[in-house]
């Protein structure tokens, strides 16, 4: 690599990378950096160092949470696709399937509430349609600090309008969710979005770069400098005293996403098997999507970065690979169909460019201005060193229990009214009235009931969906708290008449390097897993958001459970309202 392309002249040399230890700022540890040098048998250049930092970040690799996630039970007769793809897939009969997943956008939303939340919705929707499914519903699970704080109002307003504007514009109804307020989330709000899609099983596509010689087609928006470092940013603690994190802001374009969604689904319908793999460019954009697709297929990949559609001038390979510009997808397409597939996208005024090919050599190779700027073993790139996280029971759990709290009730009516006035308990209509819940004309039960119900046109079937967890319970007893989250979700589903069939989760925790936090993570997941097995609801997808701390203070462990249920006969749907005077009221359970 002797000639240095123009755009890269100001980049540090490999030696300068080593001397400045710039990778530490990207959350790549010294040990990891040295392992890489040893593996390559040379110093990685600036671009390659960036690729490793992104791919080995917790956000992309789940290196720290994997030991826990691996224990999740994810198999039963319905499971068509478990964890590891854009979203999980469950068989619902008649060659149809339901596809769903949840995703967090806590850090971006804390910095930039509107765009952070909006792009969270955009990302989770892409995960659904990249599988070949039509998105049919969105749910949002939110946690804020106390409502009387001005910062909370600012965050709430921004986040809710971000979700509303994006989902409404796409024409996908936001049908449910949950909101709680607690001081623990004051600096660190939680913004989790879940999306549900309907799939004709014949259209199922996954993110694999199979077939040597197949082409890599880039579709959607052009690449700019937005969101570079998003993945590493999500994988480190927040420091409230600096605002250097601000470069991570990404701007969403729901209009473009709508075109991308419709065109991708159409392309999959028309071209079927000629489209070999589809993947969203999410965290760590181009590198993560392309490396994962190649890795899963056991192949190599070769990209020509000059082909990548660009919105700005003088983008470097590093920037092109790590940009988190929104509304972009990667497709692997058989060489003789690339032109036709691309045409479909350009007809919709979207970029669609052949940027490379699937190779047999197992290498991750990037060219820029005729120079090779990266050459790494794909499997090595996608496999960060194993991490052994320590666990320790938090002191609060072993401390002698306080004498049981006995509430003093003098005026029951007053207490009851006080409870109803609590922001966490009060109606959330002020929030969900901003969400279009009835577009697509399938919403049978709208926000305000237990779970939402969305019918499947031309069948008798209805899907139920909900999100739940009480972080305070999980804080007080991680294992039982995890069980309770699943149980609550199941009760909400059952209350509509549906049977729970599966779970997605979003694990929001503090710093996993803190053994007490890792204990919370491991134990609550164990609880979730036990209950999931009891209820026959496999955990088919999910997402992890760690480092939810500000200045060393972690949020309550908050593993949000998104659950989907199936009701075979729409006539059996039940709603929450009392129906007639003189009907009897029963209290069921313990």
């Amino acid at each position: 690599m002797t000639i240095i392309p123009e755009a890269m002249r100001n980049e540090p040399t490999p030696e300068e990378v080593r001397a400045s230890q710039v990778y530490l700022q990207w959350s790549l540890s010294q040990d990891e950096y040295e392992m890489i040098c040893q593996h390559l048998n040379r110093l990685p250049n600036y671009t390659e160092t960036g690729l490793f930092a992104a791919m080995w970040s917790e956000h992309c690799s789940y290196k720290k949470s994997k030991p826990v996630l691996r224990k999740f039970w994810s198999q039963n007769e319905r499971v068509v696709q478990g964890p590891g793809e854009g979203a999980g897939v469950l068989d619902i009969g008649d060659n149809q399937a339901v596809v769903f997943k949840a995703e967090s956008h806590n850090h971006p939303s804390a910095v930039e509430p509107y765009q952070g939340a909006a792009t969270g919705v955009g990302g989770i929707i892409r995960d659904i349609f990249s599988m070949g499914a039509q998105p049919i519903a969105i749910l949002d699970s939110l946690r804020f600090g106390e409502l009387h704080h001005n910062t909370t109002k600012h965050l709430l307003n921004g986040i809710v309008s971000g979700i509303a504007d994006y989902g409404n514009s796409l024409g996908i109804p936001t049908v449910g969710g949950d909101v709680m307020f607690d001081a623990t989330y004051q600096q660190n709000p939680i913004v989790n979005a879940m999306a549900v899609g309907l799939l004709n099983q014949a259209d199922l596509h996954v993110g694999k770069a199979e077939g040597i010689g197949n082409r890599i087609l880039y579709v959607g928006a052009k690449t700019g400098r937005d969101g570079i470092h998003g993945a590493t940013f999500a994988s480190s603690d927040f420091d409230s005293s600096t605002d250097q994190n601000r470069s991570a802001v990404q701007v969403g374009d729901p209009f473009l996403e709508k075109l991308l969604m419709d065109t991708t689904i159409k392309a999959i319908h028309i071209f079927g098997a000629a489209i070999v793999g589809v993947q969203d460019m999410g965290a760590a954009g181009l590198v993560s999507s392309s490396a994962e697709m190649a890795g899963k297929a056991g192949n190599g990949i070769h990209l020509n970065l000059n082909q990548v559609p660009q919105r700005e001038t003088n983008l470097t390979p590093y920037e092109l690979m790590l940009s988190e510009s929104q509304e972009r997808m990667l497709m692997v397409v058989q060489a003789d169909h690339v032109a036709e597939v691309a045409q479909l996208f350009t007809d919709a005024d979207l970029a669609a460019v052949d940027i490379g090919e699937v190779t047999a050599d197992g290498r991750y190779r990037l060219d820029f201005d005729g120079v090779e700027v990266a050459n790494i073993d794909v499997q090595y790139l996608i496999t960060p060193p194993k991490q052994n996280q320590k666990q320790q029971v938090p002191a609060r759990l072993t401390a002698e229990a306080d004498p049981e709290f006995v509430p003093e009730l003098t005026d029951v009516t007053a207490t009851f009214k006080d409870l109803l006035a609590q922001s966490t308990i009060a109606s959330k209509a002020e929030i969900f009235k901003h969400y279009d819940c009835s577009v697509r004309t399938d919403t049978v039960i709208k926000p305000g009931g237990d779970a939402a119900l969305v019918r499947i046109k031309n069948t008798r079937k209805v899907l139920a969906m909900t999100t739940d967890v009480n972080g305070r319970y999980v804080y007080l007893n991680p294992q039982v708290g995890g069980q309770l989250a699943v149980a609550e979700a199941a009760r909400n589903i059952v209350a509509t008449g549906a049977t729970p069939i599966g779970i997605t989760d979003c694990l929001n925790f503090g710093d996993p390097d803190d053994p007490e936090i890792y204990y919370e993570l491991a134990q609550s997941c164990a609880g979730i897993n036990e209950m999931a097995q009891k209820l026959n609801t496999p955990i088919i997808s999910g997402n992890v958001s760690l480092y939810n701390e500000t200045d060393g203070q972690a949020i309550y462990p908050t593993p949000i459970i998104g659950m989907v249920g199936l009701l075979e006969n729409i006539d059996h749907a039940t709603t929450i309202n009392f129906k007639n005077a003189d009907d009897l009221i029963y209290l069921i359970g313990t």
């Binding site: 765009q115 928006a221 701007v251 510009s325």
Partner: protein
């Protein structure tokens, strides 16, 4: 009374989807010479202050505290004394 005008625009590298769509539309309307369009915000604020210096200081503070989003936007401003009607 003072009239402050604040012009807010995106920072150069922030994606402006609106501007992009407007540009395409202008091309279709046969304004071929259009190279780029960005859409920002334009505020007119009438305010009372004891003098121009105070009015200006207030305007700048308002812009930075509320009108702009420092993550993505920058601004320019102009201010003038106006007659009270």
């Amino acid at each position: 009374m003072y009239l402050g005008k604040v012009y807010v625009s995106y920072k150069p590298s922030v994606f402006d989807p609106q501007g992009d769509v407007i540009k395409t539309s202008l091309h279709q309307l046969n304004f071929q010479g259009v190279e780029s369009v960005t859409q920002g915000k334009y505020f007119e604020i009438k305010l009372v202050a004891t003098n121009l210096t105070e009015a200006t200081a207030n305007l700048v503070k308002m812009a930075e505290e509320l009108l702009i989003n420092p993550n993505t936007e920058t601004y320019q401003y102009a201010i003038d004394e106006i007659e009270v009607l």
